[in-house]
Amino acid sequence: MTVQTLPEFPVKKGEPAYKVWIFEPGWKGEIPLNFNLRQLAEQKRPVLLPGHRLCAGCTAPLVVKLASFALRGPTIFVNATGCLEVASTIFPYTSWAAPWIHVAFENAAAVAGGVESAIKALKKTGRLPYDHVDVIVFAGDGGTFDIGFQALSGMAERGHDVLYILYDNEAYMNTGIQRSGGTPQFASTTTSPAGEVIPGKTQAKKPIADIMVAHRIPYVATATPAHWMDFMKKVRRGLEVNGPAFIHALSDCNRGWRHETDISVEIMRRAVDTCYFPLWEWTPEQGYMLTDRSLAIARNPALKQPIEKYIEVQGRFRHLLKPENKELLKQFQEYVDKVWEDLLRRASNAPK
């Protein structure tokens, strides 16, 4: 491997933050991916700068920052409408130290397809001053599972070289916590409240990552910002494949999930420990592969926690812990187990 030099990433005192992310034309190097927290903190600047207005304890900015640590060079970001977009770019301010575009709620994948095609055309005619420019989409669950799904599916089918990162906070948070196709069964939201008769959302969560696998694109993965190294590796792999890549990142929203702001990362961890949100990646060559903590659980099933561990810390599931809802809790556990066992059957690296 050739020795790669970092562009001047360490922050210099008094220098405007955006400077760190400037890729001058002709820049050909690659930023190595460091797997050492200290190095990360010292040498890398996230593309999302301080001063954004996302809630305290929100993990959406973690998703973005960790992803940006895994960049490999000049990158253009596309954002769907949602919390991340409105909170990071209130005019005349912006938190983005990289080229960034938001167009509308449901079309981030199509916009990214256009950006990527433009890059190709500019390159073909000798007008792109770089060897390559990566394109990354950030979109919420509403903009991905529901209204944005058509554009996403179209982008995947046409094979645009775009990394689509879904930060899934399991509801329409920006408009005030309404249920989406990504909201889990029984969760209480403002349009699926836990009422006297109907206990929260009645339908199950749409298996979006599996649906993307069914598109047979080069790379699909699930991730959480709590498993940061796993996440960064996946982002880098998603960038490196030739064609569309999809990462489903669970992203805590303390406003919607109803808990204190200091346990967001802990909740992400519990999502994986209970197998509510297993970590895996999929490629056409290797199929499903468990990663990180989920691989450990597969090897040692004693590590698997009951689903209560995940829901007991969240107000949106509070009603499930009432004695009269025991049956619902059991249903939830059965659902999680079924999905997990199904994954174990499919994962090529799960002990058989």
């Binding site: 405007p16 955006y18 992310w21 400037i22 890729f23 001058e24 034309p25 000049p74 990158t75 253009i76 596309v78 977009e85 409105v86 770019t89 209130i90 005019f91 005349p92 912006t94 983005w96 130290a97 990289a98 080229p99 960034w100 575009i101 938001h102 167009v103 509308a104 449901e106 079309n107 994948a109 199509a110 916009v111 990214a112 397809g113 256009g114 950006v115 990527e116 095609s117 433009a118 890059i119 190709k120 055309a121 500019l122 073909k124 005619t125 007008r127 001053p129 770089y130 420019v133 058509q150 554009a151 599916s153 179209g154 089918e157 046409r158």
Partner: protein, 419 residues
């Protein structure tokens, strides 16, 4: 002596006479315009444009990245992404397709992206109908796009090329919709003259050039594009403290459009020997006319032939063809129509509960005149209903009677409808 005869730079002998329908003419114009990205979704009567263009792409005749999107909404979205990334982008649609993409149509102009779109005009559902009227164009009337209407295949070809230059002019930086009537133009074969490829390339000044902007946090001006070397944020959230100002800026940009359209019309004339009025409006026999008919699109051709015959008989009648519908040339029209006694506006779309959009604009243009002509709104051609010359004659007879009686009883009239 004939020594002052005007000779265009590319005289007609050097242009290629071909036969094509309007849709194909658009495709040829786009092919010659060095377009980087074309994204489109099929809808009648627009389909031929992208079918033809796909042939160019797959035969390796263009460098264009063609994105066969899954909907019109994505077609416009992809064009927005491509244009923001610095590409010259084009799409085409009609009717329901335009209705589906209209959310992003507004965003394209507000982000100041010089996209060009051929709108092959077709009626809006329901009832579903594939034929021509202008209801789709009226639907995007307030979207901040420049809207040009063409009359025949030659004008379609010429205007599509001009559209790129208008859109990308540093004074403008706005998207342009070239409106051609579905079937009447899109599917009708006509002879037209095509320019050599390099002439078009030169006319457009090569590939798209970016404009620079001054941004607070960079010390120098930076190109207005998604640029890893000088990162910018496109499409941020704008609250009540800035939104209003930004909208006003869009209006201000629109003010630069008429002079640019006129300039480019003149430049085209010097290059090819063809021009369309002053580029904005095309008045025929209006100077001394008592009766003026106002129309847009292919219907203007039919009306002109009738008006011509009547003028030969000595009747004081004229035609005012509106070529640029947005921004609307209010003061030009006031000037042109100030001498008329009666004006019949022809609207090829209907607004239930109001007048036709063109009528309203003409009424606004005339309001400040000391002596206002009588004004009539003729709705015609809905859903592709034909406008034969006989119908135009009949309309003119009616208008003459109104002029004689100096009063207008029914302001809105339907031309050629069974009652």
């Amino acid at each position: 002596m004939e020594k002052t005869v005007f000779k265009p730079k590319i005289p007609i002998e050097k242009q290629v006479l071909t036969t094509a329908n309007g849709d194909e003419a658009v495709a040829y114009a786009v092919k010659q315009s060095y377009v980087d990205v074309v994204a489109a979704y099929p809808i009648t009567p627009q389909t031929i444009i992208v079918e033809k263009y796909s042939e160019f792409v797959n035969d390796g005749l263009v460098h264009t990245e063609f994105i066969p999107v899954e909907s019109e909404h994505s077609a416009m979205s992809a064009c927005v992404g491509a244009a923001a990334a610095g590409a010259r982008a084009f799409t085409a649609t009609s009717s329901q397709g335009l209705a589906l993409m209209v959310e992003i149509v507004y965003i394209a102009s507000a982000l100041r992206l010089p996209i060009v779109m051929a709108v092959v005009n077709r009626a809006l559902s329901a009832p579903i109908n594939i034929h021509n009227d202008h209801s789709d164009a009226y639907l995007m009337r307030d979207s901040g796009w420049i809207q040009l209407f063409v009359e025949n295949v030659q004008e379609t070809y010429d205007t599509t090329i001009q559209a790129f230059k208008i859109a990308e002019d540093p004074r403008v930086q706005l998207p342009v919709a070239v409106n051609l009537d579905g079937f009447f133009l899109s599917h009708t074969l006509e002879n037209f003259y095509m320019l050599p490829d390099d002439t078009v390339y030169e006319f457009l000044g090569g590939p798209r050039k970016l404009v620079n902007v001054k941004v607070d946090y960079f010390s120098e001006e930076v190109p207005l594009v998604l640029n890893p070397a000088r990162p910018l944020t496109f499409g941020s959230l704008d609250l009540y403290d800035y939104y209003f100002e930004h909208k006003v800026q869009q209006v201000e940009a629109m003010k630069n459009v008429p002079p640019v359209v006129r300039e480019i019309n003149e430049e085209w004339y010097k290059l090819t020997g063809r021009r369309y009025g002053d580029g904005v409006v095309d008045a025929y026999g209006v100077e001394d006319a008592d009766i003026v008919i106002v129309a847009m699109g292919s219907g203007a051709g039919t009306i002109r032939s009738v008006v011509k015959k009547l003028r030969e008989k000595g009747e004081k009648i004229g035609l005012l063809k509106i070529r640029m519908f947005r921004p609307f040339p209010y003061s030009d029209i006031a000037e042109i129509l100030s001498g008329a006694k009666i004006v019949a506006v022809m609207d090829k779309a209907i607004g239930p509960g109001s007048f036709g959009a063109l009528y309203e604009d003409i009424a606004v243009s005339l309001y400040d005149l000391d002596e206002r002509p009588l004004l009539l709104d003729y709705i015609y051609g809905l859903g592709g209903r034909d406008l034969p010359p006989s119908l135009v004659y009949r309309m003119i007879e009616e208008v003459k009677k109104d002029l004689e009686s100096k009063s207008v009883e029914r302001k809105i009239r339907y031309l050629g409808v069974r009652e």
